[in-house]
């Protein structure tokens, strides 16, 4: 197993002491991720061919693994979990509601398949764009149940859009929305029909092109909706809107 001249660990006890003296300090620094560039590469390469050093490293690693547990333990804000789970639920395949039919027609291809789910929201947006192009390329506009106009809450902004509804799903095409900064996204919100205003649900997040154009798939929730709204949110989206709607499609 030794390919390098210094791999003499399999030799006599004296040799292994010498070998340990040569490598043990390096292994400790390696375990602590304290080697840079070339040094790191040399140790990694040596480990490939040296069983005793691999065992030694394996023996030492629990002493590194214990370090995170030595720090003062704190409780993260519940909002952190909410933000993470929001993204996760958004990107998950809709296994939780097996009885609900998949979106029909044009939108069938837009539901997140497991293979795609891992790649994240941005691929969903890419799929949405593709879907939109496909529609322009040949599908009949009559495949939509309804098309609504989205207008800016501040008319001076000039943002506008179109919401195309197909059963419970839909597609929102927006234009003239300023690109979000780093660390920000746009997010769609669905407000239900209801006597007291109707509750608001988080929907897809998306970004727009430099020209301010974007397409976002709304996978479900539109059959009971009163309006779809757009806000700017931190990357990953939010559980509750953090500002007033910038762009609203009224469906009543």
């Amino acid at each position: 197993m030794s390919e390098r001249p210094d791999n003499d660990a399999a030799g006599a006890a004296g040799d292994s002491v010498v070998h340990g003296e040569r490598w043990n300090d390096d292994l400790a620094a390696y375990a602590l991720d304290a080697l840079a560039g070339e040094e790191r590469r040399i140790v990694a390469e040596h480990l490939e061919g040296c069983e005793p050093c691999r065992e030694r490293l394996q023996w030492m690693l629990p002493a590194v693994d214990v370090l995170p547990a030595t720090v003062p333990q704190r409780q993260p804000a519940p909002a952190l979990k909410a933000r993470i789970m929001d993204v996760v639920e958004h990107e998950a395949e809709p296994v939780a509601e097996p009885s609900r039919g998949r979106p029909r027609g044009l939108f069938a291809g837009l539901s997140l398949r497991p293979a795609l789910a891992g790649i994240g929201v941005f691929l969903l947006i890419a799929a949405a764009v593709t879907g939109y192009v496909l529609r322009d390329g040949g599908e009949e506009p009559s495949s939509f149940d309804a098309v609504y106009t989205a207008t800016a809450e501040k008319p001076a902004s000039g943002a506008h859009g179109k919401l195309m509804v197909d059963g419970d799903a839909g597609m929102l095409h927006v234009a003239d929305l300023p690109p979000t900064g780093d660390g920000q996204v746009y997010q769609a919100w669905i407000q239900d029909k209801g006597s007291a205003g109707g509750s608001v649900h988080a929907s897809s997040v998306f970004v727009v092109s430099e020209q301010g154009v974007g397409d976002v798939a709304i996978p479900h929730g539109l059959s009971q909706a009163r309006r779809v709204m757009i806000t700017r949110e931190p990357k990953g989206g939010s559980r509750h809107p953090s500002e007033n709607s910038l762009l609203t499609a009224d469906m009543e």
């Binding site: 304290a34 030595t70 003062p72 704190r74």
Partner: protein
Amino acid sequence: MKASPRAEAARLERLADEELMAHVDRKDPHAFEVLYDRHGGAAYSLAYRIVGDRNAAEDVAQEAFLSIWRSNARFDRARGSVRSWVLSVVRNRAIDALRRGGGGAPKLDHDDDAVLEARPGEELTEEEALRRETSRELRGALDSLPEDQSQVIQLAYFGGFSHSEIAEMLSMPLGTVKGRMRLGLEKIRAQIAESITPDGVLETI
């Protein structure tokens, strides 16, 4: 028929971490939530220790958990427990964030945090109380090291410094830093020997 959502959640909560990861790999958001509930606190605490700021620590924890969810980080059984793996993902993200931010002075003492941790009258779950108790004990193990060994270990692990950066910072010969790292790790290893399973995985945290 399908189990009710509540029964399904209870079943996931009983799974060992390694089994839970199989569900997370299949993109089960409920399994992921259990994973977060188990390790989110430790992850956030580690991120906070490294970046030293609540918002930055939340960002790091969020990035780390989402990279796990999106399978950008893969669990490797050979490398230890799920918890150790999650925390190593968090540590890498936190060190990246530290470097991106230009890095301030490394945060070496944690007395201010310890005061916060001991805040009386706070309602803790049993699991949370255990986590804090374990942390106090282990911190004792780290604190019992000679200062010069504990210092180089903390600068490397929580500060993200290489041994040569540390040598320069502390005006020490290059080899000395690595030697102290080794002595320190050996002592910690000896103190935690009974918490380690036969296959070398740290068990109690």
